[in-house]
Symmetry: C2
Amino acid sequence: MDSKTKSRYEAKAKIIKAMSHPTRLFIVDELSRSERCVCELTEMVGDDMSTVSKHLSVLKNAGIVWDEKRGTQVFYSLRVPCVLRFFSCVESVLKTNAKEQASLVR
Amino acid sequence: MDSKTKSRYEAKAKIIKAMSHPTRLFIVDELSRSERCVCELTEMVGDDMSTVSKHLSVLKNAGIVWDEKRGTQVFYSLRVPCVLRFFSCVESVLKTNAKEQASLVR
DNA sequence: TTTCTATTTTGCCAAATAGCCAAGGACGGT
DNA sequence: ACCGTCCTTGGCTATTTGGCAAAATAGAAA
């Protein structure tokens, strides 16, 4: 594998990696409904605000979300809605796995 | 967030996480074309066979690939083709990011 | 200006991950 | 049976990640 191809896969992996944490997945899901400030997300997630802020910076760094400061708050919103398509596939993987589980028990 | 919802996000994150490594991304891409034995993938990836084998077990564990032993070789193939949809979205994120980069330079 | 509130950054620690090597198991060929 | 090949597992180390708490920053309001 040449280095150009390799760095391309690395760039792609970085974006997927940004989606690979339960809290960040929740945040993306939530932002698909409407924009949210850090304090709202912190409230919903239930972790320390600094932790949530870090998760948001990972998502921002990957280019998945946007942030806009308004007054004293920072609002985040989804920049690339296509990531929502991940969900339906992931659901179907889970369903397929569950089916397999069931057939093993039988 | 109740614990049921939480564990659901954890399960989803696990699947995405399995896709979040450049080598594993490459493998999935490759398996979308045809099944491959570990030795072929090892050859293509260029890492130690044990490393590739471990990556494959992560993918298998997430339910993304299948394995079948035939003779002395183990062939892996894609179990859930919908993961390929990740690629097009990731490409578009990269493109969007590149555009933004360009407009900042301007 | 000072104070308050929302957010980010930093430091630190524990846990998870990725890689290589060595060892071991399974199978086919001789 | 023995050997060689293919693959997986365990052990080790280096690196990354996730979380909290404390300190720093930015803007609003007083």
